[in-house]
Amino acid sequence: MPRNMRIVMPASLLQRQIDLLEYLTSADAIFGESADAPSVPHLQGFDLAPLRLEARFSHEKRMEKIIAAFPRTFELLGGDQATVVRDFVAACPSVDIRRIENARQFYDFVCARWEAKPPQPPYLRDVASCELAMTRLRIKHKARPAQPVAAGRAIRFRRDRDAVFLPCAYDIRPVFEGGPGEAPQRRDVVLASLVPPGSGQPAVFEVPAPVYGLLVELDNWTDRAALGGMEGMDELITDLAEHGLLEVIR
């Protein structure tokens, strides 16, 4: 056989499915204006117009999931939205059907992008981190009734397992509270995101540094007595429990 002659084997169905999905998730299929045949092998014979429509439908469905997870991030991206989305599609094809996985993929992409070029506005990374945490909370959330906590020496408590603590460079609470004209202030702050007892939606609030330090220590069930008799401790425990930051048992 001449050295330059190749034996052409028919591609397996799996290989053709892989090639088809590679094309359908490509920026070329989703955004391309060209009517030329795709460069992906094994797709000869397909009608390209419906393939491109399929690619756009699938992309729109995927972006709906991602935008639902990052509504404020997208709002703040403003005029950069289209460029960010195009670059995201090119770098991160869809690999999972789940909302959280697509959200995480987008978050990782924008964080890497912002490493190279800081975002505008500069608090965008904190907002995106907070929105990813809130998306995770919505998925994990189990309804908890609001319960009054009577602090006393007989109780035990630990840090709530679902609470997410976000060390931020900006106090981004105004972004989530929707106050008109309030711009996030540049200051190091720890924010907590969790679903408060009696609520169905995640909330964001500030945790003062000493309280954050205390909560980090409360990884395991701890007796009230172990914290000693410091003034105001009972009130603090009650407050943290009412906000859902502490799980309390008797």
Binding site: L21, G45, A49, S94, V95, H141
Partner: protein
Amino acid sequence: MTPYGPSPAVGIGYRSAIGDWTRDNLAHFDMLEVTVDHCISSGDSVASEIFDLVGRIPMTAHGIGLSIGTDVPVDLAYLDKVASVVQRLQAPAYSEHLAFTRAPGRDLANLLPLPKTEEVAEAIISKVCLIQSRIPVPFLLENISYLFEWPESRMTDVEFLNLICRETGAGLLLDVENLFLNAQNHGFDPVAFLNDLPAGIVKEVHVAGGVTVQKDFLACPFLADSHSHPVPDGALDLLDHVLAKHRPDVVVLERDDRLLEFDEILSDIRRIRARVDAAQHENSHASELVAASD
């Protein structure tokens, strides 16, 4: 007699985004269709909401995550999770799409057609047999809407479905909206499709409403299965044809977008129920005529 009563039950696909409204309006529905994947991977709160409905209203099980058409072995761990959900729901059947959504390294999260060949049908048949051995309720395959054809397809939609269902004993979840769209988009006769189905094969029915899509790169507008608008009369007319020949257990309205248009949803339910009632009346009348002539 169906598992739900003497006539086809009418219901909707449960969507957690309108879970509260659905629970407050159960009286409008005979049953709910639950997407098993929502119980498996949408988080504890969604799963709890769904399982709390057991005993309050009958539910059937529907899947979107199997990707039976991907040319790899069936994911047995996933099937076991499905079996567990089906059992908890006390569902009388489990359905999935005759489609693929993913391949190693990519997941489009959208239903794609398969090459309609005997070779591919053979591969699906062996997978259906495996599913039937692991899921202890009847397995149904659903026809999808599709935008493109594989160039090597050699069979019609109905030939492909019939071959797989005949060889496996699987029933059909007939999506009349998908049939309506495919017939329009690909230019075939939907009634001929229905006439070519063996009597009794249709065990469940989906109806929905889509939109017309016009793009500059398309030669003509496409109808898209968006589950977002009222069911078109053309799809309900096809439902009449189905009900004249088959006795499905359920007719399910699928709605995934513009979910807060509750009046539209309830109006569609009434329109579907009117068609089901008319078909029941027609079938009863025909039975009486046959009895009288005997």
